[in-house]
């Protein structure tokens, strides 16, 4: 029997087999490989992918940084990092396989000629040695001032055959003008589909669960609008300080560090319309519509703060201005709260109260959907004293899960109502380990799926809002510090809600 062309194309044996989820062979070049991110996040993520056999069969990593280091020393340092920060048990055989493809190139990013010819040699040799057809991922974990020469270096020396993708770490610019400039630099050499702007919040399982919760359940979506929902509260609270990153944080502040990206992305995911499908452009089209409809809040509806000395977990901690490297008169904000409105048909008149800050009382990222009160509770006034409105609380971290506050009768005589919680604990129902955000995002990029990355127009909208808020800040000089470390932020942030007869959620 001879095999026809048709049979050649349709292999009957592959039907029903688990699809190979392994991406095509590629080499990943990490620019800024001596930094903390590479050590704490990128290598532990690559190792976890290797443990689960999700990396491409033919794979290589080239670390690039200014520091002088040999291949061997770099490998040893990354091995120690995986052992310290990895979530999986360390296995020598898995590490050896990964380490085999690890190289290090010392580079002065400003002297692109010397550096790129050196890097090209290493990559060509790796391609040949490991059977990689020239596919490249450039991971830009570098300060903004060196991004341009690197992008130009990659862009003007495309690999022969194979695709090229670039992952850009935050901060993506520091205002609209710089972000546009950065986009222009990237677009000079790359199509939008080759650019992956990372916002690691989108790689978190619970953030993606927001999409499942809203669009896989028939019961929530009919309630998800201004008629049923009273308001939304989104909190991204950190208990840590600036962790020695004064140089970056002094320029960024809370508004650029968290508000511009993570917080606005959470608003977009909460408020977006159902996408027609889950392809990357459909999802991002809907998100960008939300970002476009957020109106600039008035000055009374934005509060900024800076922490002073205080207590966190029983230990006294210094105020922001006392942190090493921080200007003793710094006016950088470490806290932002705002009342936002999404001006569209679904959300008109429904406030989104958002806040983020450092050195707050505890680490917590939550989205709380507070529903309108029952229109006419037929109970005596005293009976319903302890009754609060229904709240759907989405816990992004810690205690990942969803809980719904409902009123229930207190057992016994009479009819006393109290608020109780129905909890769904994410890790309780699915007891497999949750992948780290970077694992998901690195793998998505290798597969060419950009759904969970930020598109150019989203970044532009996010900066437009931030620029408008920051412009208003130029006009006054708040008296900083205005909240003690270990508290929930400045009292003026409470006033935003008090004026509306509401309050921040109790913790």
């Amino acid at each position: 029997m001879t095999v026809t062309e048709e049979q050649r194309q349709e292999n009957p044996l592959t039907v029903g087999l688990p699809l190979s989820r392994r991406p095509e062979p590629c080499a990943m070049v990490i620019f800024g490989a001596s930094g903390d991110l590479t050590k704490r996040k990128l290598f532990p993520a690559l190792y976890s992918l290797a443990v689960r056999e999700l990396l491409p069969e033919h794979f290589a990593v080239v670390g690039v940084a200014r520091t002088e280091e040999s291949d061997e020393a770099f490998r040893e340092r990354m091995k120690a990092a995986v052992q310290e920060f990895g979530r999986d048990e360390f296995r020598d055989d898995v590490w050896e396989r990964l380490a085999d493809g690890i190289r290090y190139v010392t580079a002065d990013f400003m002297d692109t000629e010397t550096f790129f010819s050196r890097a090209a040699k290493v990559l060509t040799a790796l391609d040949k040695e490991r059977g990689i057809p020239g596919n490249r991922i450039g991971y830009l974990a570098v300060p903004p001032d060196v991004i341009e020469p690197i992008v130009e270096g990659i862009g003007t020396r495309p690999s022969k055959g194979g695709w090229t993708r670039v992952i850009v770490e935050k901060p993506f610019g520091h205002d609209l003008a710089s972000a546009t400039e950065l986009n222009d630099v990237l677009h000079k050499y790359f199509e939008e589909s080759q650019i992956y702007r990372i916002d690691h919040y989108l790689g978190k399982e619970t953030v993606q669960n927001m999409l499942a919760l809203r669009f896989a359940n028939g019961i929530f979506e009919p309630l998800w609008n201004r008629l049923i929902i009273d308001h939304v509260q989104i909190t991204v609270a950190e208990s840590i300080g600036i962790e020695g990153r004064a140089g970056y944080y002094e320029k960024a502040g809370a508004i650029r560090d968290i508000f511009q990206n993570h917080l606005l992305q959470l608003v977009a995911l909460t408020a977006m319309e159902p996408p027609i499908d889950f392809t990357s452009d459909s999802v991002r089209n809907e998100k960008v519509k939300v970002l476009k409809s957020i109106s600039t809040p008035g000055p009374r509806d934005v509060v900024r703060g800076q922490y002073g000395r205080g207590y966190v977990e029983g230990e006294e901690v210094p105020g922001y201005r006392e942190e090493p490297g921080v200007d003793p008169n710094s006016m950088t904000e470490t806290y932002v709260a705002a009342k936002l409105f999404v001006d569209n048909w679904r959300w008109a008149g429904t406030p989104f109260y958002v806040r983020t800050g450092k050195r707050l009382a505890r680490r917590e990222t939550t989205i709380a959907i507070e529903f309108k009160k029952a229109p006419h509770p037929p109970f005596e006034e005293l009976a319903a004293e302890g009754l609060r409105p229904n709240v759907l609380l989405i816990n992004i971290q810690p205690d990942e899960g969803v809980s719904l506050a409902i009123g229930a009768k207190v057992p016994g005589q009479g009819l006393q109502i109290r608020t109780v919680h129905m909890d769904f604990l994410y890790g309780g129902a699915f007891r497999t380990d949750m992948p780290e955000a970077y694992e998901r995002l690195l793998l998505d990029c290798m597969r060419g799926d950009s759904t969970l990355f930020t598109r150019e127009d989203e970044v532009v909208e996010q900066w437009q809002l931030v620029d408008a808020i920051v412009a208003a800040w130029q006009r006054d000089r708040p008296s900083f510090p205005n909240y003690a470390a270990g508290t929930w932020g400045p009292p003026t942030a409470d006033e935003i809600l008090q004026r509306d007869g509401r309050a921040w959620r109790r913790h």
Binding site: N11, L13, G16, L17, G428, R431
Partner: protein, 281 residues
């Protein structure tokens, strides 16, 4: 050991009491399914091994049924296991062990039905060769959404595959012996199109694996394929028309993961069903 429970309502009361036990701290119950295990005497030890760790990954209500001879009646006991989830929070899952005597062993569905968690899928792990046609097996098959077997445990292959084929329209079936061939099937699929003209396969492994691989190739390639079997306790080699096939890459699945992976599946597997039907011919 606690007092033996002798009725379903006693078991239910005990479950409720355990869940409210203040000393055990958190009382949140999270379940994704009910898992029934039918464990004849000779499989008791092996079954306990598999159960250990299963609830950790698949929080469920597990009902282990031990069929015994005798007049009738049941003896049950209940465990609530707690898994820590950080300070002050935990998840508990229930394990109910019931020894069924005489008539209750012949009609287990009436015992199990009241104990199923509503609205969630029900899985039945049947240890050993099912007693096809007996009331116990027939009743349980109609109660559950998925039957999980390991045909490696079956004597007299391939004849029992004929009986198994008759339940496919009533319940979705998972076979752990089939799951163990997954790596090899991927490797064999990579030999397309040369493999399209295969005439004979020799399998060094368990008899179940040999029959299932041969059945799979027959049903997918739609041709007669002769099978030769070389006994081994696991799948270690395949020859195609006398030529050894390459060894598949990657590690074999860990035994603990095999059952767990089957519990993630909810739909019928037509490829497996085809392989079983063709294994008998």
């Amino acid at each position: 050991m606690a007092k033996t429970l002798t009725s379903v309502s006693e078991i239910e009361r005990k479950l409720a009491a355990l869940r409210l036990d203040e000393e055990r701290g958190a009382r949140q119950r999270t379940s994704v399914m009910t898992h029934i295990a039918w464990v004849p005497e000779e499989w008791v030890e092996a079954a306990e091994d598999v159960l250990t760790g299963l609830a950790e990954r698949h929080p469920s209500r597990t009902i282990v049924l031990f069929p015994l001879s005798g007049d009738g009646g049941l003896e049950g006991d209940v465990d609530v296991e707690l898994f820590g989830r950080g300070a002050g929070r935990g998840v508990c899952t229930d394990t109910i062990r019931i020894r069924l005597h005489g008539t209750s062993a012949a009609h287990p569905a009436s015992v199990v039905e009241p104990l199923l968690i509503p609205d969630l899928p029900v899985f039945l792990r049947w240890r050993g060769l099912p007693s096809f046609g007996d009331s116990a097996f027939e009743e349980l098959v109609d109660t559950v959404d998925r039957l999980i077997i390991d045909s490696t445990e079956w004597p007299g292959l391939p004849a029992p595959y004929g009986d198994l084929g008759k339940v496919f329209d009533r319940v979705a079936v998972s076979d752990i012996a089939w799951a163990r061939t997954s790596r090899w099937r991927s490797m064999l699929a990579s030999l397309w199109p040369q493999i399209a003209e295969l005439r004979k396969i020799k399998v060094t492994g368990t008899l179940a694996q040999a029959h299932l691989l041969a059945g799979w190739l027959r049903s997918r390639l739609e041709r007669k394929i002769e099978m030769e079997h070389e006994p081994a306790d696991k799948l270690v080699g395949v020859e195609l028309d006398g030529e050894p096939a390459p060894f598949p890459s990657g590690d074999p699945p860990r035994p603990a993961d095999l059952l767990s992976d089957e519990l993630d599946k909810l739909d019928r597997d037509p490829i497996y069903e085809g392989a079983v039907r063709a294994a008998v011919t």
